[in-house]
Point group: C2
Chain length 486, copies 2
């Protein structure tokens, strides 16, 4: 049975979140001092507001014993929204982004690791705010890894129950102790890999600032760059391949990284989702490479491969970095890139989209239905790797797939109501729901979301959040049943 | 257990089908005499080939006791292909369509009630062949009604088992007796309504030839017209509304028409699928009407409604007649029209697409998954109207939905390989798989499929057939298990 909502405890957590955000803002403040840029006062103000608000909330609510599942939904669903609201303050209060709608869009895009921007001149932003943009990605990525490997499995969302106990930790029913332990382990991995990428990028000639910002955005599969032309600005084959490699890593289930690091060297190869993810990446990047090469988009096969692989991984992992404008590529390349937007990364990674594992289950279920026509009474179980997927999990995953498709259509329709053409509407919808960033049409890789009407930016911001939180987490809060008193 | 294939019996049926086709060709032959057009020799040749081939096959195969389910799949899946091949002969042998690929495309488009054409100048075709185009629709429509209400329910395909015993007839397990009875009843309804439409169109000033051809195409939700500009050519509000009405009727489950005609006057209103179909039609046509009107596409609200309603019903029922070029409409209208291509008509109608009932089940299942998150142990059954849908039927319907989406993507991708842009590729794929006719991009309502490379025409022809035969019927034949000896 459902317990009643523990509102005080939930707000207590929100209070801490806002407090933490205030503390995190000291980092961009330091950057602001170093570069003595124009955002100092805005950041100080944001810190004061956040710490004061957070402090008040923590003070006037009390931590109660433990959280119910319903409380968990509320913490996750509203927590991201609240963080994005406060995270928008530095952009807005510094005057760098004069519209609050835009500031909120940029902040939500950051924390959801989407990377869609309203900025037409990114490089005009004060350094401290460039840093903050990348940092929001990184924080969001941290949140997502813990969410998808420790919290969602317990809430039983969209098949994430498959990942129960993927990562060690006390298996008590209570949410808190397990989460803390799992989180610690995963964050060490996350921080470690990020640090390695920074070093690699420094070797490629990036300065520490750019290397850090891009590593944040890579590991979170975010996509915000400090440059107007994204990764293309560095014009370096070495940097392209380093970032390709780390984006690929970021799109892998972090539980596998953990297992690998503690000595289970077969962890990747034993994982059906990883294998599919890898073969998909290789297959699609090769098709794109040859398609573009033979159509004369690139003069050398190597250049075609370099950009084809980069873009396949960038969109497939839902990062959204760019080295070349894929809207100038062949239609084969474009449609594959569009499809990649829906597939997304692996479950338990920082990647968005539907996730590879769900695609596997959904396709296998389709094939089972076909077999059943010939053998109506046969009991055929759905296996992924050596693992049998229970029927209710299959239903849950298919439900997720359906909901994803419906939301994609719904957001697309709402965008056409704002006057966007069909391709752009579908592009914004896919790119925001899947947390990618660049889309198609007027929001292609060389364009931005600035021109979209304010209401559209709010819809897309919410779409980013819904997509990021595996749909159900947000949608369940919107159902009447969630709030009914009992 | 599966019985072994009864190849001789199956071919016996094919022989009869080809013979029947030969006999049906006497109708266009008569038309050809009346108008003394250039197709006479071609049609006579087609008749001779068909009757001779059919006769030979019937002669050298024997009718065996009864057909197994597997035989049933083969009859349906290959039968349509064979009919389309022979149905292409008059176009090809008369020289009116010089490429056999094109002739086959046109014929398959006819028998699958799609209405996609390779002709740029329709009116240049000899009258007899114009008649034959429309007649292939009508025959295809007849086939589909019987298939979906009498054969597919027994094969248990994509949830069609829901319609078991919707229409009276002996309920023995054997395929043949039940089919014959059901077919007779349904065909009387089909012929009757077609005749009524002819009369109504005559009143609108159409000549008998055009009235007949357009009634054939309407009741089959086909879409072939005898005019280059489709229904717009008649420039008559009366004709627009008459055809709108009959297209709507053709998109309704024919079992409901039957029930209504034998005095069960609540048949429509008691049916959940009908209600959804009606409200969808009304809702979408009103949105399109206002969207176009306020955007200034039409000067008068009435004109906007006339064309908005016509196009909503035409695409929603997958007919594909046109009175106005919807590619000049607002993006809201265009995206809704594109979505209508997927929804399609009701099950048991001549309409294609996914069918309204499947949409209902799929959406309800998504909502159930949402409820389950809050009540993990609750048993929530899926109801449509007062009827509980069994779990295996739900799975079967969802499987259909998934397969439809995958096929749509697959055909779209294959079209981009032929150099089509993304929008056109998606347009051809949706329009052929859903048996609509006109699509988007370069295959919009004022364009045709002539420019598509030959291989693309074959792919799209097969897509039409797969879509028309509820996917599984064709796909199951392509599985290895189907042909395995035992």
């Amino acid at each position: 049975m459902l317990k009643s909502l523990n509102t005080s405890s939930v707000f207590h957590i929100f209070g801490y979140l806002i407090l933490m955000l205030g503390l995190m803002l000291f980092l961009p403040l330091v950057i602001s001092f170093i570069y003595s840029d124009s955002s100092t006062m805005g950041i100080i103000l944001s810190i004061l507001i956040s710490i004061f608000t957070g402090f008040l909330i923590v003070k006037f609510t009390k931590k109660n014993s433990e959280l119910s599942i319903r409380d968990g939904f509320l913490v996750v669903g509203l927590g991201w929204l609240i963080i994005a609201l406060f995270g928008a303050l530095p952009f807005y209060l510094s005057g760098a982004i004069p519209s609050f709608t835009d500031a909120f869009f940029e902040s939500m895009s950051g924390f959801t690791t989407t990377g869609a921007s309203i900025l037409s001149d990114i490089e005009a932003l004060p350094k401290a705010l460039l840093f903050w943009r990348s940092f929001t990605h990184w924080i969001g990525g941290m949140g997502i890894i813990v969410l998808s490997l420790a919290i969602l499995p317990m809430l039983g969302i969209g098949g994430m129950q498959l990942f129960k106990a993927e990562v060690p930790g006390p298996t008590a029913d209570k949410l808190t102790p397990r989460v803390k332990n799992t989180a610690k382990i995963l964050w060490i991995v996350y921080v470690g890999i990020t640090a390695v990428e920074v070093v690699f990028l420094l070797f490629g000639g990036m300065d520490l600032f750019d290397a850090t910002c891009h590593s944040f955005a890579t590991m979170a599969t975010g996509g915000f760059s400090t440059k107007n032309t994204s990764i293309a600005a560095f014009n370096s084959t070495y940097i392209d391949f380093v970032i390709t490699f780390f984006m690929f890593i970021a799109g892998v289930n972090f539980a596998l990284h953990y297992k690998f690091l503690i000595g289970k060297f077969n962890s990747y190869w034993d994982d059906a989702e990883f294998k599919t993810y890898m073969f998909l990446t290789i297959g699609i990047s090769l098709i794109i490479t040859f398609s573009n090469y033979f159509a004369g988009v690139f003069n050398s096969l190597f250049e075609s491969f370099r950009h084809g692989l980069f873009q396949t991984v960038s969109i497939g992992t839902t990062t959204g970095f760019g080295t070349h404008d894929y809207e100038t590529w062949t239609s084969v390349s474009q449609i594959l890139i569009f499809i990649l937007m829906f597939i997304g990364g692996s479950a338990g990674s920082t990647g968005g989209g539907m996730k590879v594992i769900r695609l596997i289950v959904v396709i296998k279920q389709g094939l089972i239905e076909l077999k059943k026509l010939l053998h109506p009474n046969a009991v055929i179980s759905l296996k992924v790797g050596k693992r049998v997927i229970p029927k209710d999990v299959t239903f849950s995953i298919i439900g997720f797939f359906l909901l994803y498709v419906f939301l994609f259509i719904l957001v697309s329709i709402s965008m056409t109501f704002l006057g966007l053409d069909i391709v752009t509407a579908a592009g914004t919808s896919a790119a925001c729901l899947g947390n990618i960033g660049p889309g198609l049409g007027m929001v292609g890789p060389t364009e931005n979301y600035g021109f979209i009407p304010a209401i559209g930016k709010w819809i897309l911001s919410i779409a980013m959040m819904i997509g990021r939180l595996e749909l159900y987490t947000v949608l369940v809060i919107l159902t009447g049943g969630f709030w009914r008193k009992r």
